[in-house]
Symmetry: C2
DNA sequence: CTCCATAATTAAACATTGTTCAGTTAATTG
DNA sequence: CAATTAACTGAACAATGTTTAATTATGGAG
């Protein structure tokens, strides 16, 4: 219940609106109860991030697993960019917002993020020889990170914020060019 | 004075430690005085970000303007990654931290960020034909954004956090591969 | 030097935040 | 039904950003 309320508030008003009293009031409880379910607000936010990541990964998993790796990667990118465009506050809460206290995220969170990475890695695998698993992993990391950077820059810069389409073009071009570079440098 | 104190506190303890009372106490003033110099704490943080960006850009400007575009770009990247490694709290405050209130940054901040972009664009210019200024701009945007994403992911992921060297290799590889992709797709 | 006007600075107050905990209510078990 | 356990509350505390009346310092005119 707490997480559902936190998710709704975040989607509608941003993660900064998720306060202890607000969260409790939304489901008809008192603030103190939160601390019997969660360690503190950082814990709430950490689990909220996992819930948001689950949503994103569910969408990514929903793209059909057929076609060339390039086409599949572009489909993943479109889904990612669309998620950031449709749910900007969720994307921000997941990838950009700090825990309320400013403390680092718990260690177990890294394992969740890597689910996104391995998803990209799986799609990219056919492009790499079997003995070059490290290359596939590195490419997946770079594309995942680059995608994040492009969406992040697009959100903060007033330039391309007007046309949401621009981000999609930029992200697609980045991925295709990077893959072309891998092919070119290999030969 | 306020900005200097804020910069020192941020470098040492992170931007979350920059509070109104702390800031005032550090220079021997009372909290209320801040509001005769700044509009509010968001304003302090915004100007602090500009100060940090000035530092980063000063370092980027210090790289020699000779050699091939590729070598010059790699030098820029090394400086960027080194800055993030040596001053992680400043990098975080500049690129990742939200304003205290969660409100968006003022419009004039975008103009400052674009200084970094044009710097990369200048280095990349010789690689593009004169009529393809848009291509150079897009490449600069992608590299700047990708660099941000790689450093951001490296910081949040426990995987490569241990060896700070990994980030540099990843960033260099990303840039070179992306440029190779541009060359390959053009022919 | 004195007096006054202006500027600079303060200290206290207010609302809101996360968090704790003794006390109260609800549920469950023997 | 009684007693134990669990769930929950509401008031309190410290710390936050921000405002403002009061105070102090500054500087110029006579």
């Amino acid at each position: 219940m707490f997480l559902n309320a936190a998710l709704e508030t975040t989607a509608a008003e941003g993660i900064e609106a998720v306060t202890a009293r607000r969260l409790a009031a939304d489901i008809g409880y008192s603030p103190g109860t939160i601390y019997q379910v969660f360690e503190n607000l950082d814990d709430v936010v950490a689990q909220l991030k996992v819930a948001i990541l689950d949503r994103l990964i569910a969408r990514l998993n929903a793209v059909p697993a057929r076609g060339t790796p390039e086409k599949r990667l572009l489909a993943l990118i479109d889904v990612y960019v669309a998620f950031a465009a449709e749910e900007p506050r969720l994307w921000h809460a997941l990838f950009e917002a700090d825990p309320p206290s400013g403390a680092p995220l718990p260690e177990w969170f890294g394992a969740h993020i890597s689910r996104g990475l391995t998803l990209v890695e799986t799609v990219l695998a056919p492009l790499f020889k079997e003995e070059d698993k490290a290359g596939a992993a590195r490419a997946a990391t770079t594309i995942w990170a680059g995608l994040h950077g492009i969406v992040s820059l697009a959100r903060s810069s007033a330039v391309s914020r007007a046309s949401g389409q621009e981000t999609k073009v930029l992200a697609r071009d980045f991925a295709l060019t990077y893959l072309a570079g891998i092919a070119a440098r290999r030969t």
